[in-house]
Protein backbone atom coordinates (compact mmCIF):
# COMPACT_ATOMS: atom_id res chain seq x y z
CA UNK A 1 0.00 0.00 0.00
CA UNK A 2 1.22 3.47 -0.81
CA UNK A 3 0.70 5.86 2.08
CA UNK A 4 -1.54 8.77 1.23
CA UNK A 5 0.24 11.93 0.16
CA UNK A 6 2.32 13.31 2.95
CA UNK A 7 1.09 16.88 2.85
CA UNK A 8 -1.96 17.16 5.07
CA UNK A 9 -3.30 20.21 3.24
CA UNK A 10 -3.32 18.36 -0.05
CA UNK A 11 -4.86 15.44 1.75
CA UNK A 12 -7.90 17.53 2.65
CA UNK A 13 -8.51 18.66 -0.92
CA UNK A 14 -12.02 17.69 -1.89
CA UNK A 15 -13.14 17.49 1.74
CA UNK A 16 -14.41 21.02 2.54
CA UNK A 17 -16.01 19.72 5.76
CA UNK A 18 -12.56 18.77 7.04
CA UNK A 19 -11.17 22.16 6.09
CA UNK A 20 -14.01 23.75 8.09
CA UNK A 21 -13.19 21.58 11.10
CA UNK A 22 -9.53 22.46 10.82
CA UNK A 23 -10.40 26.16 10.79
CA UNK A 24 -12.45 25.82 13.98
CA UNK A 25 -9.96 23.87 16.06
CA UNK A 26 -7.93 26.10 18.39
CA UNK A 27 -4.13 25.83 18.19
CA UNK A 28 -2.55 23.25 20.53
CA UNK A 29 -5.95 21.68 21.20
CA UNK A 30 -6.43 18.03 22.12
CA UNK A 31 -8.57 16.23 19.58
CA UNK A 32 -10.29 12.87 19.30
CA UNK A 33 -11.35 12.02 15.75
CA UNK A 34 -14.02 9.33 15.56
CA UNK A 35 -13.99 7.35 12.34
CA UNK A 36 -10.63 8.87 11.49
CA UNK A 37 -10.23 6.96 8.23
CA UNK A 38 -6.69 7.28 6.91
CA UNK A 39 -5.87 9.80 9.65
CA UNK A 40 -5.19 12.74 7.33
CA UNK A 41 -7.41 15.16 9.26
CA UNK A 42 -5.51 14.44 12.46
CA UNK A 43 -2.25 14.76 10.62
CA UNK A 44 -3.38 18.03 9.11
CA UNK A 45 -4.47 19.35 12.53
CA UNK A 46 -1.11 18.36 13.98
CA UNK A 47 0.83 20.07 11.19
CA UNK A 48 -1.24 23.24 10.91
CA UNK A 49 -2.69 23.76 14.41
CA UNK A 50 -0.22 21.94 16.61
CA UNK A 51 -3.17 19.86 17.77
CA UNK A 52 -2.49 16.49 19.36
CA UNK A 53 -4.78 13.58 19.73
CA UNK A 54 -6.08 10.22 18.71
CA UNK A 55 -8.24 8.72 16.04
CA UNK A 56 -10.70 5.88 16.43
CA UNK A 57 -11.28 3.62 13.46
CA UNK A 58 -12.80 0.17 13.10
CA UNK A 59 -11.80 -0.91 9.59
CA UNK A 60 -8.50 -2.78 9.22
CA UNK A 61 -7.43 -1.08 5.99
CA UNK A 62 -8.03 2.39 7.42
CA UNK A 63 -6.20 1.52 10.64
CA UNK A 64 -3.22 0.43 8.56
CA UNK A 65 -3.41 3.66 6.51
CA UNK A 66 -3.56 5.74 9.70
CA UNK A 67 -0.54 3.94 11.12
CA UNK A 68 1.30 4.60 7.85
CA UNK A 69 0.40 8.28 8.22
CA UNK A 70 1.96 8.32 11.67
CA UNK A 71 -1.35 8.95 13.42
CA UNK A 72 -2.33 7.69 16.88
CA UNK A 73 -5.11 5.40 15.75
CA UNK A 74 -7.07 3.21 18.14
CA UNK A 75 -8.90 0.32 16.51
CA UNK A 76 -12.32 0.18 18.11
CA UNK A 77 -15.99 0.09 17.21
CA UNK A 78 -17.73 3.38 18.00
CA UNK A 79 -21.00 1.56 18.37
CA UNK A 80 -19.68 -0.09 21.52
CA UNK A 81 -18.83 3.16 23.30
CA UNK A 82 -15.54 4.97 23.73
CA UNK A 83 -13.42 2.81 26.03
CA UNK A 84 -10.13 4.34 27.03
CA UNK A 85 -11.28 7.96 27.06
CA UNK A 86 -12.14 9.66 30.31
CA UNK A 87 -14.86 12.28 30.81
CA UNK A 88 -13.92 15.72 29.51
CA UNK A 89 -10.47 14.55 28.47
CA UNK A 90 -10.39 16.23 25.04
CA UNK A 91 -10.99 19.78 23.81
CA UNK A 92 -12.78 18.46 20.72
CA UNK A 93 -14.32 15.20 19.65
CA UNK A 94 -14.83 15.06 15.89
CA UNK A 95 -17.15 12.96 13.76
CA UNK A 96 -17.00 13.70 10.06
CA UNK A 97 -19.46 12.19 7.59
CA UNK A 98 -20.08 9.27 9.89
CA UNK A 99 -23.13 10.36 11.89
CA UNK A 100 -25.52 9.19 9.20
CA UNK A 101 -23.88 5.77 9.03
CA UNK A 102 -23.94 4.82 12.72
CA UNK A 103 -26.65 2.76 14.34
CA UNK A 104 -26.57 4.23 17.85
CA UNK A 105 -26.60 7.87 16.75
CA UNK A 106 -28.02 9.31 19.94
CA UNK A 107 -25.66 7.37 22.20
CA UNK A 108 -22.63 8.34 20.12
CA UNK A 109 -23.42 12.06 20.20
CA UNK A 110 -23.84 11.90 23.97
CA UNK A 111 -20.57 9.90 24.23
CA UNK A 112 -18.83 12.65 22.21
CA UNK A 113 -19.98 15.22 24.76
CA UNK A 114 -18.93 13.00 27.64
CA UNK A 115 -15.35 12.75 26.39
CA UNK A 116 -15.03 16.15 24.72
CA UNK A 117 -15.65 19.63 26.01
CA UNK A 118 -16.91 20.40 22.53
CA UNK A 119 -17.97 18.21 19.62
CA UNK A 120 -17.88 18.83 15.88
CA UNK A 121 -19.94 16.79 13.41
CA UNK A 122 -20.38 16.94 9.68
CA UNK A 123 -23.13 15.18 7.77
CA UNK A 124 -24.83 15.24 4.37
CA UNK A 125 -28.00 17.35 4.53
CA UNK A 126 -30.94 15.23 3.50
CA UNK A 127 -32.98 18.43 3.32
CA UNK A 128 -31.04 19.67 0.29
CA UNK A 129 -33.46 20.58 -2.52
CA UNK A 130 -31.99 17.99 -4.84
CA UNK A 131 -32.69 15.19 -2.39
CA UNK A 132 -36.19 16.49 -1.82
CA UNK A 133 -36.69 16.77 -5.55
CA UNK A 134 -35.62 13.21 -6.24
CA UNK A 135 -37.94 11.81 -3.59
CA UNK A 136 -40.88 14.10 -4.19
CA UNK A 137 -40.96 14.25 -7.95
CA UNK A 138 -38.76 11.38 -9.10
CA UNK A 139 -40.21 9.07 -6.48
CA UNK A 140 -36.74 7.66 -5.87
CA UNK A 141 -34.18 7.71 -3.09
CA UNK A 142 -31.70 10.55 -3.65
CA UNK A 143 -28.27 9.96 -5.13
CA UNK A 144 -25.79 12.84 -5.20
CA UNK A 145 -22.15 13.81 -4.57
CA UNK A 146 -22.72 13.81 -0.81
CA UNK A 147 -25.05 10.79 -0.93
CA UNK A 148 -23.36 8.67 -3.59
CA UNK A 149 -25.16 5.39 -2.84
CA UNK A 150 -28.12 3.43 -4.06
CA UNK A 151 -30.80 2.57 -1.51
CA UNK A 152 -29.68 -1.08 -1.44
CA UNK A 153 -25.96 -0.54 -0.84
CA UNK A 154 -25.87 2.59 1.28
CA UNK A 155 -24.07 2.55 4.63
CA UNK A 156 -26.29 5.46 5.66
CA UNK A 157 -28.91 4.30 8.11
CA UNK A 158 -29.73 7.58 9.93
CA UNK A 159 -29.93 10.35 7.38
CA UNK A 160 -31.19 13.65 8.71
CA UNK A 161 -31.71 17.25 7.72
CA UNK A 162 -30.17 20.36 9.26
CA UNK A 163 -33.48 21.10 10.92
CA UNK A 164 -33.67 17.56 12.32
CA UNK A 165 -30.23 17.90 13.87
CA UNK A 166 -31.01 21.26 15.42
CA UNK A 167 -34.20 19.86 16.89
CA UNK A 168 -32.23 16.88 18.26
CA UNK A 169 -29.80 19.26 19.98
CA UNK A 170 -32.62 21.32 21.48
CA UNK A 171 -34.16 18.18 22.90
CA UNK A 172 -30.91 16.81 24.35
CA UNK A 173 -29.56 19.78 26.27
CA UNK A 174 -27.02 20.58 23.57
CA UNK A 175 -26.01 24.14 22.69
CA UNK A 176 -24.92 24.74 19.10
CA UNK A 177 -21.85 26.99 19.07
CA UNK A 178 -21.26 27.30 15.37
CA UNK A 179 -22.85 26.10 12.14
CA UNK A 180 -21.51 26.04 8.62
CA UNK A 181 -23.54 24.85 5.67
CA UNK A 182 -21.81 24.11 2.40
CA UNK A 183 -22.62 23.21 -1.15
CA UNK A 184 -19.99 22.45 -3.73
CA UNK A 185 -17.36 23.44 -1.17
CA UNK A 186 -18.84 26.95 -0.75
CA UNK A 187 -20.74 28.34 2.26
CA UNK A 188 -24.50 28.66 1.91
CA UNK A 189 -26.09 31.53 3.84
CA UNK A 190 -29.63 31.79 2.53
CA UNK A 191 -32.08 28.89 2.99
CA UNK A 192 -29.34 26.54 4.18
CA UNK A 193 -31.58 23.50 4.81
CA UNK A 194 -32.74 23.73 1.21
CA UNK A 195 -29.57 24.84 -0.56
CA UNK A 196 -26.84 23.20 1.54
CA UNK A 197 -25.72 19.65 0.85
CA UNK A 198 -23.23 19.41 3.73
CA UNK A 199 -23.60 20.59 7.32
CA UNK A 200 -20.90 21.22 9.91
CA UNK A 201 -21.86 21.82 13.55
CA UNK A 202 -19.82 22.65 16.63
CA UNK A 203 -21.68 22.14 19.90
CA UNK A 204 -21.38 21.56 23.62
CA UNK A 205 -23.43 20.28 26.50
CA UNK A 206 -25.60 23.00 27.99
CA UNK A 207 -24.68 23.69 31.62
CA UNK A 208 -27.12 22.04 34.03
Amino acid sequence: MTPAKANGRDGLAGRPDLAAIAAWVRPQASVLDLGCGDGLLLRHLAETRGARGYGVEVEDEKVIASVANGVNVIQADLERGLWGFDDGSFDYVLLSLTLQAVRHTEAIILEMLRVGREAIVTFPNFGHWHARWQVALGGRMPVSDTLPYQWYDTPNVHLCTIRDFERFCAGHGIRILERLVLHGGRPVGWLPNLRGSLAVFRFERRAH
Binding site: R52, D60, I64, A65, V67, A68, I74
Partner: protein, 413 residues
Protein backbone atom coordinates in the same frame (compact mmCIF):
# COMPACT_ATOMS: atom_id res chain seq x y z
CA UNK B 1 8.00 2.30 -1.92
CA UNK B 2 5.48 0.91 -4.39
CA UNK B 3 4.78 -2.81 -4.49
CA UNK B 4 6.49 -3.37 -7.83
CA UNK B 5 9.81 -1.91 -6.72
CA UNK B 6 9.85 -3.54 -3.29
CA UNK B 7 12.04 -6.62 -3.35
CA UNK B 8 10.35 -9.90 -2.49
CA UNK B 9 10.61 -10.55 1.23
CA UNK B 10 13.24 -13.16 1.89
CA UNK B 11 15.14 -14.85 4.67
CA UNK B 12 18.12 -13.19 6.28
CA UNK B 13 19.89 -16.41 5.31
CA UNK B 14 22.41 -18.30 7.42
CA UNK B 15 23.08 -16.76 10.81
CA UNK B 16 25.60 -17.33 13.58
CA UNK B 17 24.83 -17.09 17.27
CA UNK B 18 27.44 -15.53 19.57
CA UNK B 19 28.18 -16.04 23.22
CA UNK B 20 29.21 -13.00 25.23
CA UNK B 21 30.58 -13.02 28.77
CA UNK B 22 29.43 -10.51 31.41
CA UNK B 23 31.52 -10.28 34.55
CA UNK B 24 29.62 -7.60 36.43
CA UNK B 25 27.25 -9.25 38.92
CA UNK B 26 23.53 -9.12 38.27
CA UNK B 27 21.55 -8.40 41.41
CA UNK B 28 18.09 -9.74 40.78
CA UNK B 29 14.84 -8.32 42.16
CA UNK B 30 14.32 -11.66 43.90
CA UNK B 31 17.36 -10.94 46.08
CA UNK B 32 19.53 -13.51 44.33
CA UNK B 33 22.72 -12.65 42.48
CA UNK B 34 24.40 -13.98 39.37
CA UNK B 35 28.10 -13.28 39.86
CA UNK B 36 28.79 -13.54 36.13
CA UNK B 37 26.86 -14.86 33.16
CA UNK B 38 26.90 -15.58 29.46
CA UNK B 39 24.39 -14.23 26.97
CA UNK B 40 23.83 -15.84 23.60
CA UNK B 41 22.59 -13.50 20.90
CA UNK B 42 22.14 -13.15 17.15
CA UNK B 43 21.96 -10.11 14.91
CA UNK B 44 20.44 -9.50 11.49
CA UNK B 45 21.08 -6.54 9.23
CA UNK B 46 23.71 -3.91 9.87
CA UNK B 47 23.93 -0.98 12.26
CA UNK B 48 24.13 2.48 10.71
CA UNK B 49 26.97 4.80 11.64
CA UNK B 50 25.00 6.39 14.49
CA UNK B 51 23.73 2.98 15.65
CA UNK B 52 20.28 4.51 15.75
CA UNK B 53 18.60 1.73 13.75
CA UNK B 54 18.79 -1.09 16.31
CA UNK B 55 15.72 -3.19 17.10
CA UNK B 56 15.71 -5.54 20.07
CA UNK B 57 13.43 -8.58 19.91
CA UNK B 58 12.47 -10.08 23.27
CA UNK B 59 11.42 -13.69 23.48
CA UNK B 60 8.58 -15.36 25.31
CA UNK B 61 8.43 -18.57 27.31
CA UNK B 62 10.07 -21.21 25.17
CA UNK B 63 11.78 -19.23 22.42
CA UNK B 64 15.32 -17.96 22.18
CA UNK B 65 17.80 -15.64 20.52
CA UNK B 66 17.18 -17.45 17.21
CA UNK B 67 14.62 -15.00 15.86
CA UNK B 68 15.27 -15.06 12.11
CA UNK B 69 17.28 -16.84 9.46
CA UNK B 70 18.64 -20.37 9.83
CA UNK B 71 21.85 -22.16 10.70
CA UNK B 72 24.09 -23.23 7.84
CA UNK B 73 24.24 -26.78 9.18
CA UNK B 74 20.51 -26.86 9.94
CA UNK B 75 18.66 -25.07 7.12
CA UNK B 76 15.19 -26.14 8.29
CA UNK B 77 15.61 -24.48 11.66
CA UNK B 78 14.09 -21.09 10.91
CA UNK B 79 14.01 -18.43 13.61
CA UNK B 80 10.79 -18.18 15.61
CA UNK B 81 9.79 -14.80 14.11
CA UNK B 82 11.24 -15.41 10.65
CA UNK B 83 7.96 -14.36 8.99
CA UNK B 84 8.26 -10.93 10.64
CA UNK B 85 11.96 -10.16 10.36
CA UNK B 86 14.13 -10.22 7.25
CA UNK B 87 14.89 -8.34 4.04
CA UNK B 88 11.66 -6.74 2.80
CA UNK B 89 9.70 -8.13 5.75
CA UNK B 90 7.65 -5.98 8.16
CA UNK B 91 10.80 -5.44 10.24
CA UNK B 92 13.13 -4.90 7.31
CA UNK B 93 16.70 -6.03 7.97
CA UNK B 94 17.84 -4.04 4.95
CA UNK B 95 17.18 -0.98 7.11
CA UNK B 96 17.24 -2.15 10.72
CA UNK B 97 19.90 -3.83 12.83
CA UNK B 98 17.89 -6.49 14.65
CA UNK B 99 19.05 -8.27 17.77
CA UNK B 100 17.72 -11.44 19.36
CA UNK B 101 19.00 -12.43 22.79
CA UNK B 102 18.41 -15.47 24.97
CA UNK B 103 17.48 -14.32 28.45
CA UNK B 104 19.42 -15.70 31.41
CA UNK B 105 17.41 -18.37 33.19
CA UNK B 106 16.37 -19.78 29.82
CA UNK B 107 17.87 -22.94 28.37
CA UNK B 108 19.19 -22.08 24.92
CA UNK B 109 22.76 -21.10 25.67
CA UNK B 110 22.66 -18.15 28.02
CA UNK B 111 23.42 -18.90 31.66
CA UNK B 112 20.54 -20.77 33.20
CA UNK B 113 19.68 -23.34 35.85
CA UNK B 114 21.43 -26.14 33.95
CA UNK B 115 24.67 -24.12 33.64
CA UNK B 116 27.56 -24.89 35.96
CA UNK B 117 27.83 -22.63 38.98
CA UNK B 118 31.53 -21.70 39.14
CA UNK B 119 31.25 -21.40 42.92
CA UNK B 120 30.32 -25.07 43.34
CA UNK B 121 31.33 -26.72 40.11
CA UNK B 122 27.80 -28.16 39.90
CA UNK B 123 24.71 -27.11 37.93
CA UNK B 124 22.86 -24.22 39.54
CA UNK B 125 19.62 -26.19 39.65
CA UNK B 126 17.53 -25.09 42.60
CA UNK B 127 20.01 -22.35 43.53
CA UNK B 128 19.56 -20.36 40.31
CA UNK B 129 18.05 -16.98 41.23
CA UNK B 130 14.45 -16.25 40.31
CA UNK B 131 14.42 -13.61 37.58
CA UNK B 132 11.87 -11.04 36.53
CA UNK B 133 11.20 -8.94 33.45
CA UNK B 134 13.05 -6.07 35.16
CA UNK B 135 16.16 -8.26 35.48
CA UNK B 136 15.99 -9.35 31.86
CA UNK B 137 15.61 -5.76 30.68
CA UNK B 138 18.65 -4.79 32.75
CA UNK B 139 20.63 -7.60 31.14
CA UNK B 140 19.46 -6.56 27.67
CA UNK B 141 20.59 -2.99 28.41
CA UNK B 142 24.03 -4.31 29.29
CA UNK B 143 24.13 -6.16 25.98
CA UNK B 144 23.16 -2.91 24.25
CA UNK B 145 26.09 -1.20 26.01
CA UNK B 146 28.47 -3.81 24.67
CA UNK B 147 27.04 -3.39 21.17
CA UNK B 148 27.42 0.39 21.35
CA UNK B 149 23.66 1.04 21.21
CA UNK B 150 22.61 4.00 23.34
CA UNK B 151 18.99 4.01 22.27
CA UNK B 152 16.94 1.38 20.51
CA UNK B 153 14.85 2.44 17.53
CA UNK B 154 12.41 -0.14 18.84
CA UNK B 155 12.06 -2.93 21.34
CA UNK B 156 9.47 -5.50 20.35
CA UNK B 157 7.98 -8.73 21.55
CA UNK B 158 4.86 -10.85 21.84
CA UNK B 159 3.36 -12.23 25.04
CA UNK B 160 6.12 -12.34 27.68
CA UNK B 161 8.35 -10.62 25.11
CA UNK B 162 5.85 -7.77 24.98
CA UNK B 163 6.05 -7.44 28.75
CA UNK B 164 9.78 -6.86 28.38
CA UNK B 165 9.18 -4.21 25.72
CA UNK B 166 6.76 -2.53 28.11
CA UNK B 167 9.26 -2.83 30.95
CA UNK B 168 11.89 -1.15 28.75
CA UNK B 169 9.74 1.97 28.50
CA UNK B 170 9.61 2.10 32.30
CA UNK B 171 13.17 1.04 33.18
CA UNK B 172 15.03 2.92 30.43
CA UNK B 173 12.65 5.49 28.90
CA UNK B 174 15.55 7.42 27.38
CA UNK B 175 16.90 4.32 25.65
CA UNK B 176 13.83 3.23 23.68
CA UNK B 177 12.18 5.25 20.91
CA UNK B 178 9.38 2.79 20.11
CA UNK B 179 7.79 -0.15 21.91
CA UNK B 180 5.98 -2.80 19.88
CA UNK B 181 3.76 -4.64 22.31
CA UNK B 182 1.95 -7.65 20.81
CA UNK B 183 -0.51 -10.06 22.49
CA UNK B 184 0.35 -8.51 25.82
CA UNK B 185 -1.07 -7.98 29.25
CA UNK B 186 -0.05 -5.49 31.94
CA UNK B 187 -0.38 -8.32 34.47
CA UNK B 188 -1.59 -11.89 34.65
CA UNK B 189 -5.11 -12.62 35.78
CA UNK B 190 -5.87 -15.14 38.52
CA UNK B 191 -6.83 -17.60 35.77
CA UNK B 192 -3.47 -17.09 34.01
CA UNK B 193 -1.60 -17.70 37.28
CA UNK B 194 -3.76 -20.74 37.94
CA UNK B 195 -2.77 -22.31 34.63
CA UNK B 196 0.89 -21.60 35.40
CA UNK B 197 0.51 -23.16 38.82
CA UNK B 198 -0.93 -26.37 37.37
CA UNK B 199 2.07 -26.54 35.05
CA UNK B 200 4.52 -25.98 37.89
CA UNK B 201 2.82 -28.56 40.13
CA UNK B 202 3.13 -31.08 37.31
CA UNK B 203 6.89 -30.47 37.22
CA UNK B 204 7.72 -30.28 40.91
CA UNK B 205 5.66 -33.38 41.77
CA UNK B 206 7.44 -35.45 39.14
CA UNK B 207 9.61 -37.95 41.07
CA UNK B 208 12.47 -37.10 38.72
CA UNK B 209 12.45 -33.43 39.74
CA UNK B 210 14.59 -33.91 42.86
CA UNK B 211 13.86 -30.45 44.19
CA UNK B 212 15.26 -28.91 41.02
CA UNK B 213 18.63 -30.68 41.24
CA UNK B 214 17.76 -33.53 38.90
CA UNK B 215 20.89 -32.90 36.80
CA UNK B 216 22.96 -34.53 39.54
CA UNK B 217 20.77 -37.62 39.29
CA UNK B 218 21.12 -37.95 35.56
CA UNK B 219 17.35 -37.67 34.99
CA UNK B 220 14.83 -35.10 33.74
CA UNK B 221 11.29 -34.60 35.04
CA UNK B 222 9.87 -35.26 31.60
CA UNK B 223 6.45 -36.39 32.75
CA UNK B 224 5.96 -33.09 34.52
CA UNK B 225 7.30 -31.08 31.61
CA UNK B 226 4.97 -32.88 29.22
CA UNK B 227 1.93 -32.04 31.30
CA UNK B 228 3.12 -28.47 31.74
CA UNK B 229 3.49 -28.13 28.00
CA UNK B 230 0.12 -29.69 27.31
CA UNK B 231 -1.75 -27.28 29.54
CA UNK B 232 0.24 -24.32 28.28
CA UNK B 233 -0.31 -25.29 24.69
CA UNK B 234 -4.08 -25.47 25.15
CA UNK B 235 -4.08 -21.89 26.43
CA UNK B 236 -2.18 -20.66 23.36
CA UNK B 237 -4.87 -21.88 20.96
CA UNK B 238 -8.48 -20.86 20.60
CA UNK B 239 -11.37 -23.29 20.89
CA UNK B 240 -12.23 -22.58 17.26
CA UNK B 241 -8.66 -23.08 16.05
CA UNK B 242 -8.44 -26.45 17.82
CA UNK B 243 -11.80 -27.54 16.48
CA UNK B 244 -10.77 -26.44 13.00
CA UNK B 245 -7.48 -28.30 13.22
CA UNK B 246 -8.56 -31.52 14.96
CA UNK B 247 -12.32 -31.60 15.24
CA UNK B 248 -13.32 -34.86 16.91
CA UNK B 249 -11.32 -36.92 14.46
CA UNK B 250 -10.38 -40.34 15.80
CA UNK B 251 -6.96 -41.80 15.28
CA UNK B 252 -8.17 -45.22 14.28
CA UNK B 253 -11.40 -44.11 12.66
CA UNK B 254 -13.63 -45.55 15.38
CA UNK B 255 -13.99 -45.21 19.13
CA UNK B 256 -11.63 -47.56 20.95
CA UNK B 257 -13.21 -47.59 24.42
CA UNK B 258 -9.91 -47.14 26.23
CA UNK B 259 -7.95 -44.40 27.97
CA UNK B 260 -5.07 -44.28 25.54
CA UNK B 261 -4.93 -41.91 22.57
CA UNK B 262 -8.24 -42.00 20.75
CA UNK B 263 -8.73 -38.47 19.41
CA UNK B 264 -6.35 -36.63 17.07
CA UNK B 265 -6.05 -33.75 19.51
CA UNK B 266 -4.70 -36.12 22.15
CA UNK B 267 -2.14 -37.46 19.74
CA UNK B 268 -1.08 -33.94 18.82
CA UNK B 269 -0.69 -32.80 22.42
CA UNK B 270 1.32 -35.90 23.30
CA UNK B 271 3.59 -35.49 20.31
CA UNK B 272 4.21 -31.80 20.98
CA UNK B 273 4.79 -32.34 24.67
CA UNK B 274 7.14 -35.26 24.06
CA UNK B 275 9.26 -33.07 21.80
CA UNK B 276 9.14 -30.23 24.31
CA UNK B 277 10.21 -32.40 27.24
CA UNK B 278 13.29 -33.49 25.28
CA UNK B 279 14.69 -30.02 24.75
CA UNK B 280 13.27 -27.78 27.45
CA UNK B 281 14.55 -27.39 30.99
CA UNK B 282 12.17 -27.93 33.90
CA UNK B 283 13.74 -25.23 36.09
CA UNK B 284 13.52 -22.78 33.21
CA UNK B 285 9.82 -23.54 32.88
CA UNK B 286 9.31 -22.81 36.57
CA UNK B 287 11.39 -19.65 36.45
CA UNK B 288 9.79 -18.16 33.36
CA UNK B 289 6.21 -18.90 34.39
CA UNK B 290 7.02 -17.21 37.70
CA UNK B 291 8.39 -14.18 35.88
CA UNK B 292 5.07 -14.05 34.04
CA UNK B 293 3.13 -14.26 37.32
CA UNK B 294 5.16 -11.53 38.97
CA UNK B 295 5.05 -9.03 36.11
CA UNK B 296 2.86 -6.17 37.28
CA UNK B 297 4.40 -2.72 36.77
CA UNK B 298 1.32 -1.08 38.29
CA UNK B 299 1.83 -2.89 41.59
CA UNK B 300 4.40 -0.37 42.83
CA UNK B 301 1.90 2.40 42.04
CA UNK B 302 -1.06 1.10 44.00
CA UNK B 303 -2.36 -0.78 40.98
CA UNK B 304 -2.43 2.36 38.84
CA UNK B 305 -1.04 1.41 35.42
CA UNK B 306 -1.30 5.00 34.20
CA UNK B 307 1.00 6.06 37.04
CA UNK B 308 3.37 3.20 36.22
CA UNK B 309 3.66 4.40 32.63
CA UNK B 310 3.83 8.11 33.47
CA UNK B 311 7.59 8.16 32.92
CA UNK B 312 7.48 6.31 29.60
CA UNK B 313 8.35 8.50 26.63
CA UNK B 314 8.43 5.94 23.81
CA UNK B 315 5.89 5.78 21.02
CA UNK B 316 3.85 2.58 21.16
CA UNK B 317 2.31 0.11 18.79
CA UNK B 318 -0.01 -2.24 20.66
CA UNK B 319 -1.54 -5.22 18.84
CA UNK B 320 -4.00 -7.78 20.17
CA UNK B 321 -5.95 -10.65 18.64
CA UNK B 322 -9.68 -11.10 19.08
CA UNK B 323 -9.52 -14.85 19.73
CA UNK B 324 -6.68 -14.61 22.28
CA UNK B 325 -8.34 -15.68 25.52
CA UNK B 326 -5.04 -16.03 27.36
CA UNK B 327 -4.14 -12.33 27.08
CA UNK B 328 -7.37 -11.00 25.66
CA UNK B 329 -7.79 -7.68 23.81
CA UNK B 330 -9.26 -6.27 27.02
CA UNK B 331 -5.80 -6.58 28.61
CA UNK B 332 -4.16 -4.72 25.72
CA UNK B 333 -6.83 -2.04 26.01
CA UNK B 334 -5.77 -1.48 29.62
CA UNK B 335 -2.29 -0.68 28.33
CA UNK B 336 -3.68 1.59 25.61
CA UNK B 337 -5.92 3.37 28.13
CA UNK B 338 -2.97 4.00 30.45
CA UNK B 339 -0.98 5.43 27.54
CA UNK B 340 -3.85 7.67 26.47
CA UNK B 341 -4.20 8.85 30.09
CA UNK B 342 -0.57 9.94 29.83
CA UNK B 343 -1.11 11.42 26.35
CA UNK B 344 1.52 9.11 24.91
CA UNK B 345 1.70 8.37 21.21
CA UNK B 346 0.06 5.00 20.66
CA UNK B 347 -1.43 3.09 17.78
CA UNK B 348 -3.61 0.12 18.63
CA UNK B 349 -4.70 -2.64 16.27
CA UNK B 350 -7.13 -5.34 17.31
CA UNK B 351 -6.69 -8.06 14.73
CA UNK B 352 -9.69 -10.27 14.05
CA UNK B 353 -7.72 -13.52 13.89
CA UNK B 354 -9.00 -16.97 14.82
CA UNK B 355 -5.80 -18.55 16.13
CA UNK B 356 -5.78 -17.51 19.77
CA UNK B 357 -2.68 -16.30 21.60
CA UNK B 358 -0.33 -17.91 19.09
CA UNK B 359 -1.62 -15.56 16.40
CA UNK B 360 1.27 -13.25 17.21
CA UNK B 361 3.65 -15.78 15.64
CA UNK B 362 1.59 -16.39 12.54
CA UNK B 363 1.60 -14.71 9.17
CA UNK B 364 -1.61 -12.66 9.19
CA UNK B 365 -1.68 -10.09 6.39
CA UNK B 366 -3.41 -7.31 8.39
CA UNK B 367 -1.19 -7.83 11.43
CA UNK B 368 1.96 -7.74 9.35
CA UNK B 369 0.70 -4.73 7.37
CA UNK B 370 0.24 -2.77 10.60
CA UNK B 371 3.73 -3.65 11.82
CA UNK B 372 5.19 -2.85 8.40
CA UNK B 373 3.44 0.54 8.28
CA UNK B 374 4.61 1.35 11.79
CA UNK B 375 8.22 0.43 11.11
CA UNK B 376 8.15 2.53 7.94
CA UNK B 377 7.70 5.57 10.18
CA UNK B 378 10.28 4.31 12.67
CA UNK B 379 12.78 4.01 9.84
CA UNK B 380 12.19 7.61 8.74
CA UNK B 381 12.37 8.90 12.32
CA UNK B 382 15.65 7.20 13.25
CA UNK B 383 17.40 7.44 9.88
CA UNK B 384 17.27 3.72 9.13
CA UNK B 385 17.89 4.29 5.44
CA UNK B 386 19.85 1.22 4.46
CA UNK B 387 23.22 2.84 5.11
CA UNK B 388 24.33 0.10 7.47
CA UNK B 389 27.98 -0.72 7.85
CA UNK B 390 29.73 -4.00 8.58
CA UNK B 391 30.92 -4.15 12.18
CA UNK B 392 32.90 -6.49 14.36
CA UNK B 393 30.51 -8.07 16.83
CA UNK B 394 31.69 -8.96 20.32
CA UNK B 395 31.59 -12.50 21.67
CA UNK B 396 32.57 -15.94 20.54
CA UNK B 397 30.74 -17.29 17.47
CA UNK B 398 28.97 -20.56 18.18
CA UNK B 399 29.96 -22.97 15.46
CA UNK B 400 27.36 -25.55 16.28
CA UNK B 401 23.70 -24.99 15.88
CA UNK B 402 22.07 -24.01 19.13
CA UNK B 403 19.41 -26.35 20.46
CA UNK B 404 18.02 -26.72 16.98
CA UNK B 405 15.25 -29.18 17.61
CA UNK B 406 14.05 -26.86 20.29
CA UNK B 407 13.29 -24.06 17.94
CA UNK B 408 11.76 -25.98 15.10
CA UNK B 409 8.50 -26.49 16.98
CA UNK B 410 6.94 -23.12 16.30
CA UNK B 411 4.88 -22.31 19.34
CA UNK B 412 6.88 -19.82 21.32
CA UNK B 413 4.39 -18.19 23.61
Amino acid sequence: MSPNTRPQPSSVGPVVARRLRFDAPLRCRSGGTLAAYDLVYETYGRPNAARSNAVLVCHALNASHHVAGYYADDPHNAGWWDNMIGPGKPVDTDRFFVIGVNNPGSCFGSTGPMSTDPATGKPYGSTFPLMTCEDWVEVQARLADRLGIRRFAAVMGGSLGAMQALQWTISYPERIANAIVVAATPKLTAQNIAFNEVARRAIVTDPDFHGGDFYLHGVKPKRGLRLARMIGHITYLSDDAMMEKFGRVLRSGSIGYHFDVDFEVESYLRHQSDKFAEYFDANTYLLITRALDYFDPAHAHGGDLSAALAGASARFLVVSFTSDWRFSPARSREIVKALIDNRRDVAYAEIDAPHGHDAFLLDDARYHAVVRAYFGNVARAVGADGSGVAVELPGEPLARRAASDALAGGFAA
